[in-house]
Amino acid sequence: MLKYIAKNAAQMLVTLLLIVLIVFIMFELIPGNPAQIMSKLDADQKTIEALEQEFGIHDPLPVKISKYFTGLLNGDMGRSIRFGKPVIDLIRQAIPVTMSLAIYSFFLIVIISVPLALLASVKRGSFIDNAIRFTTETTLAIPPFFMAVILMLIFRTTQLGLKSGQGASSGSSVLVQYLLPALAIALSRVTMALEFLRDSIIEQKKMFYLKTAIGKGVTRSRIILTHVLRNSLVPYITVLGLIIAEIFGGSIIIEQVFLLPGLGRLLVTAVESRDFPLTLGIIITIAIVVIVVNFLVDLINQFIDPRLREKEHVALRTGLGAKLIYKLNTIRGVKK
């Protein structure tokens, strides 16, 4: 187990290095001198040179990168050009917001998708199944920001006492504050989770081992809960991992609409102001989250399906990967 984690940690580090490299090169290609931008146009040559010195603008790329990594190892991501503060501090402030949003919407997605997927697959082809599919496919077609606006209108008019649009500054509890943005995110992504789980359950229900369970006298509800649902989880957890990673890196619009000071908004500001250290810092943070989530998904899936622990069964995983891509494409196709 420890060996496994160590091996994966090395792999994750390499991935991270590659990402940093790519972002560095991309920023090299973008024209403009950050020192100039930062110091405004009226700055004299001396100030600009001092800033250039600080940011190592004229260093060759390998030197820049190695400097950056040395900093990174000491928890230093440089200083933000736009805010003049250490990047790490800015990110530290933003992370709790995005993290709460991601976790909150994650739970909403699970709470909505598990019972609905069970219902839809058990009553497959029935009115309920079709109604669920129709509703979720409709919510998929609505863009998240529009969903957010609709939700705000609904909740405002029904006077639920929710202060939407006021972000984290309002006094109410986190649970209430984040309800609308999390719901907006959850509703726009729940379809994918639901369809994966539904299909997986339907597939498991065809499996022959269920006949053994019936032969043993296991009741229907027990079969669904202890055999079918558990065995359907691997593709579901994989897609949940994708979703949570996507929420982390992609809730920019929702954060804008609800004025939440999270990573997404910070990233927009950073890119707009050509704030290279901040942009890089945020991208690295998101990359770390994605890598860690993927690792956890792998770990959980291996816990659920012991066959995934073995090398010979790699085919199972690649099979799952292919299925995932196929399914994502079909769902995206529906969206168009």
Binding site: Y209, G215, G217, D305
Partner: protein
């Protein structure tokens, strides 16, 4: 009729009695046409027929696991005197795994791949008994030993893919017998296994039958295993039994040409070196109503009447019957 059923219930002469069972699909195909069979307590009965003859559908009807779109159209299945064709789901759960154990053809598909072996066997006890956890554990390990599984403590913690085919089949057997059922149904339990393991599994079934007086319905397409194991045999063709008798009667004096063909395709010592006779043609599929002898088209001895009428069962000797018009001619 009612009275008869009542007496049956009190002291059933047969563990299982299937009467004129007919199983159809929604498309109208007759998968099992008219199967009657009876198994006495402690008896091992074989059901033989080639692929597609309806053996598995018959067992599924008995166990109540017919696939969607396939249902019992006619007939009764009396288990210990009680008709189980139309019982509730709860009653079914009380019978399966408790009084009725089943072993399937393909053990690699029949076990839940994500559940530990011990837990899968234990599930039967969990459902049907009030035993405590440690009592259940003891019994699980004891039954695993009884079916000759090695290193049971360790094995109980393993997953199905970590076992050999023979071990998986033994696990299925352990699961089926752990509650001391009255009837064990084994649907081709050895098809996926090699010769040595097959012999071991057959021995095991025999031992279970003798030591616990469990009746067995043994399904196979292969007369040689039936010969080793069974007391009586039913030969099934296209959903209809064509010959019934003790294994000795049927093997030594086969009356139906289909039985003869089946017997000829067993490799034996005497026939070594000869070319194996391969059966011509296949069971027709899907099937309409049976209006004539279903085997007529493939039968080397068929004559006019075979293609016009469905032959009834003729008695050969007491306890030995066959559905072939040749027997009628002999009688005349």
């Amino acid at each position: 009729m009612n009275k008869l059923e009542l007496t049956n219930q009190a002291n059933p002469e047969y563990t299982l009695k299937v009467e004129h069972l007919k199983v159809v699909s929604t498309q109208g195909a007759e998968l099992v046409r008219d199967v009657s069979l009876a198994i006495k307590p402690g008896e091992i009965v074989g059901l033989v027929g080639e692929s597609g003859s309806g053996k598995s559908i018959t067992t599924m009807a008995i166990v109540g696991i017919l696939p969607d779109g396939i249902s019992i159209a006619k007939g009764k299945i009396l288990f210990q005197g009680q008709d189980i064709t139309r019982i509730s789901a709860d009653e079914r759960c009380g019978i399966n795994g408790n009084k009725l154990g089943i072993i399937y053809q393909d053990a690699s598909q029949a076990l839940n791949p994500l559940m530990r072996i011990g837990k899968q066997i234990d599930e039967v006890l969990k459902i049907h008994t009030d035993l405590s956890l440690s009592e259940r554990q003891d019994r699980v390990l004891g039954t695993m030993r009884a079916v000759n599984l090695p290193d049971v403590k360790n094995l109980a913690k393993r997953y199905p893919h970590e076992l050999s085919g023979g071990q998986r089949q033994r696990v299925l057997i352990a699961m089926a017998i752990i509650n001391n059922p009255q009837l064990l149904i084994a649907d081709e339990p050895t098809t996926a296994l090699d010769v040595t393991v097959t012999a071991q599994i057959l021995d095991l079934i025999k031992i279970i039958n003798e030591s616990k007086q469990i009746s067995v319905l043994y399904i196979s397409h292969d007369f040689s295993t039936v010969n080793k194991l069974c007391d009586r045999v039913f030969v099934l063709y296209a959903g209809i039994p064509v010959e019934i008798g003790s294994v000795k009667q049927v093997i030594e004096n086969p009356q139906h040409p289909y039985t003869e063909l089946l017997l000829e395709s067993i490799p034996t010592k005497e026939k070594r070196g000869q070319k194996l006779l391969r059966m011509k043609g296949r069971t027709q599929d899907p099937r309409g109503p049976a209006l004539n002898c279903q085997f007529a088209d493939r039968c080397p001895k068929a004559f006019g009447r075979c293609r016009q009428e469905l032959p009834p069962m003729y008695q050969v000797t007491p306890g030995h019957t066959a559905a072939c018009f040749l027997l009628n001619n002999k009688g005349e």
